[in-house]
């Protein structure tokens, strides 16, 4: 009985201390932020209720977009090498083969209408700074035309499988122009020097960010970087919830590749220790019977 009392005292003291330095200190240092919004309600320049016409969209995209963007899925190759594209625009314009799938439709329409406000980069691109976002705004286009572009991009969007290869495709399409993922052998399409000039800093290698930031942080950060890193130059990329989950799944597959092994082995080892402790208890009882 006495031993249980001692154990209880220790557990209480350790428990209070643990609570203080882990969950509580964490909540002080990382306060909760607004929940992620995957509908991107704050941008509403384009009436997204209009039904798009993919055929017209194709014409518009070919006239307006493929001078900068490759769309391999529709047979439009890049017109320049990555090095030249980075030199011209600061960053390599992403291939749009996946755009219709990975970007939320509301975000995408409003992004085409005005990239800077959709990406939450007004602090960087404004009259005062005199900086110009490399992609033009199509705010002169009729909402119907913009919705046609969205419909076209959705109609050609590459379908991917729900596995590591699929997750990788999503990651490369969404983040690959800026971020390395060294542990998967992925190098950003834009050279580091260009990125440094364009972004003000070289975007970090994401190999271990699933561990250093964790899923919870990434969930809100990728949805809108400004919420957690106010003033950062990383844009809001506008992924759908599903695409974002695929990106984070990929970060975990690369950054924490032994998770499944850890979880299954863990249960076995703990079960083994339970049996061990039980047998040890029987042995102890037998031995101590003689002396008590």
């Amino acid at each position: 009985m006495k031993e249980f009392k001692i154990l209880a005292v220790i557990l209480i003291l350790v428990g209070i201390t643990y609570y203080g330095i882990e969950p509580y200190a964490h909540s002080v240092m990382h306060p909760e932020v607004a929940p992620a919004d995957f509908t991107f309600q704050d941008v509403k320049n384009v009436d997204t209720k209009l039904t798009g016409n993919a055929a017209n969209g194709k014409t518009l995209v070919e006239a307006n977009c493929i001078a900068c963007h490759a769309i391999e899925a529709a047979g439009n190759p890049a017109v320049m090498s990555n090095a030249d594209a980075a030199a011209s625009y600061g960053v390599v314009p992403p291939d749009l083969s996946h755009a219709g799938r990975i970007y939320d439709a509301n975000f995408l329409a409003n992004f085409v209408f005005d990239p800077v406000s959709a990406m939450h980069l007004q602090h960087k691109y404004n009259a005062e700074s005199g900086k110009q976002f490399p992609m033009p705004s199509y705010n002169w286009m009729a909402p119907q035309d913009i919705m046609d572009i969205v419909a076209y991009l959705q109609s050609i969007a590459v379908k991917v499988t729900d596995d590591k290869a699929g997750h990788k495709a999503t990651f490369e399409a969404a983040c690959g122009r800026c971020h390395n993922m060294q542990y998967a052998g992925i190098e950003a399409t834009t050279p580091a020097d260009n990125l440094k000039t364009y972004m003000g800093t070289v975007p970090p290698d994401l190999s271990q960010y699933i561990k250093s930031r964790g899923e919870h942080y990434l969930h809100s950060f990728v949805n809108d970087p400004q919420v957690l890193l106010k003033g950062t130059s990383m844009p809001r990329v506008g992924l759908t919830e599903k695409a974002q989950e695929e990106v984070i799944a990929y970060m975990e597959e690369i950054g924490d590749s032994k998770k499944a092994e850890r979880n299954s082995l863990g249960l076995w080892v703990m079960a083994y220790m339970v049996v061990f402790a039980f047998l040890a208890y029987l042995w102890k009882r037998k031995i101590w019977e003689e002396v008590h």
């Binding site: 003291l13 561990k211 930031r213 979880n263 102890k284």
Partner: protein, 416 residues
């Protein structure tokens, strides 16, 4: 040379050459431990086991780790964690073990303080124990630097910087410790040497010394009772096991320890597999970057209390800067536990709760250390800074008043 007769058994063969039968008696079956002890007396064996696990997992890590600022991070986080078969398991055992070993060390230490196991002949046990504590602290600190993550770098930076506050030689001392003007490759390589060679050797030596120092005074017991071991041992050997006050180390004492170990290991492996963040700070999965200071820098949890004693002094008093005061308080905190056997002036060896004044002292100390630990982690701003100051001051006052409190207690006992 002595005459050898042909051995009839393997045991005899070894006994002729190594005296194993007698050795086993002296070390195990006739090494006497008091019977009235509780599971707190199993902490020493837990520590021995944890140290062994740290040593073994460390040797495995050493096979792939690269002590170079350009390679260290990836050798740990890619090669060991993801490429080598079960490398992650060794790393988790090593990191969680290094953290949990301090939990057990603190339980072990405060058990010693609670039961007064540091006086009346047990001073050398205490001193050798504190020596182990200091060596483990150095081992923990040097090891934390090796993965070369952000917290490795910045904790190393902040802690080595502390030595800069020492008058006259401070600045040179910092450079001498780091091997460079800032924390750099030379720092990593020398801390690597300390972590895998010099300190473990010293720890092995200190453990042997600690065990040896236990032999003559024997371990204490739940009541602080002194009795004649020879008489009790004879009783035991004569078969009166139930009335003897002692038990042999093997198998009786260890059978209980093995059970405690089993329960502990369930908890330990739960942490290793499912709950390791407290020991492997997420921030440390960002590669070290000397140009990017993290928003919050804090040491490992087991250093938080002494770190807060240092930080608590944030304003000038009587012309002495807060920084210097903090450094003095920090120095005080790091040696004062060593002196406990002489600060406690009461000759009574009893559990704290049976000592009229000491019991308050003990539980206030526990509370104060918990407050210090907590506020050592929180940002030292606004009211937090004042709580830190109060707790740091309380710590000093507690230790400065201990001789008087215990002296009063001794007088009171004498009057009875």
């Amino acid at each position: 040379m002595a005459k050898f007769k042909k051995a009839d058994s393997m045991l005899e063969w070894f006994d002729q050459r190594l005296g194993v039968v007698n050795f086993a008696k002296v070390m195990m079956t006739e090494y006497w431990i008091p019977k009235n002890i509780n599971f707190l007396w199993a902490m020493g064996v837990l520590l021995t086991m944890l140290f062994t696990m740290l040593l073994v997992s460390g040797i495995f890590l050493l096979m792939y780790y690269k002590p170079d600022v350009n390679m260290a991070f990836d050798s740990v986080n890619y090669t060991i964690m993801q490429e080598v078969a079960y490398g992650w398991l060794f790393r988790h055992i090593h990191a969680v073990g290094a953290s949990v070993v301090f939990l057990i060390i603190y339980i072990h230490m405060f058990t010693g303080i609670y039961y007064g196991s540091y006086k009346k002949g047990r001073e050398m046990i205490w001193i050798s124990g504190m020596l182990l504590f200091m060596l483990f602290s150095a081992e923990g600190f040097s090891g934390y630097m090796l993965p070369w993550g952000q917290m490795s770098y910045w904790a190393a930076y902040v802690i080595t910087e502390i030595f800069g506050g020492i008058p006259f030689i401070g600045d040179d001392l910092v450079v001498w410790i780091r091997g460079n003007f800032y924390v750099a490759d030379a720092t990593l390589t020398r801390f690597f040497m300390l972590h895998v060679l010099l300190i473990p050797l010293a720890i092995l030596g200190a453990i042997v010394f600690h065990f040896y120092s236990l032999r003559f005074p024997h371990v204490n017991n739940e009541k602080g009772e002194f009795f004649d071991y020879e008489v009790e041992a004879e009783k035991y050997l004569a078969g009166d096991k139930k009335h003897s006050k002692v038990i042999p180390f093997w198998p009786v004492f260890l059978s209980k320890d093995v059970f405690v170990m089993g329960v502990f290991l369930i908890f330990f492996f739960y942490l290793v597999f499912f709950h390791y963040d407290f020991a492997m700070d997420p921030i440390n999965f960002d590669k070290a970057n000397g140009l990017k200071t993290p928003a919050h820098i804090y040491p490992e949890w087991y250093f938080l209390w002494s770190y807060e004693v240092l930080r608590g002094w944030f304003f000038e008093i009587a012309g002495i800067s807060g920084k210097s005061l903090g450094l003095m308080a920090f120095g005080f905190a790091n040696v004062i536990f060593l002196l406990i056997p002489w600060l406690d002036r009461s000759p009574t060896v009893k559990p704290a709760n049976q000592r009229p004044f000491f019991k308050y002292w003990f539980w206030i100390l526990m509370a104060d250390l918990m407050v210090l630990t907590e506020f050592g982690k929180l940002p030292p701003t606004g009211p937090n800074a004042w709580v830190g100051f109060g707790a740091s001051l309380t710590f000093l006052v507690l230790f400065l008043s201990l001789p008087f409190i215990t002296k009063m207690e001794a007088k009171k006992a004498g009057r009875k």
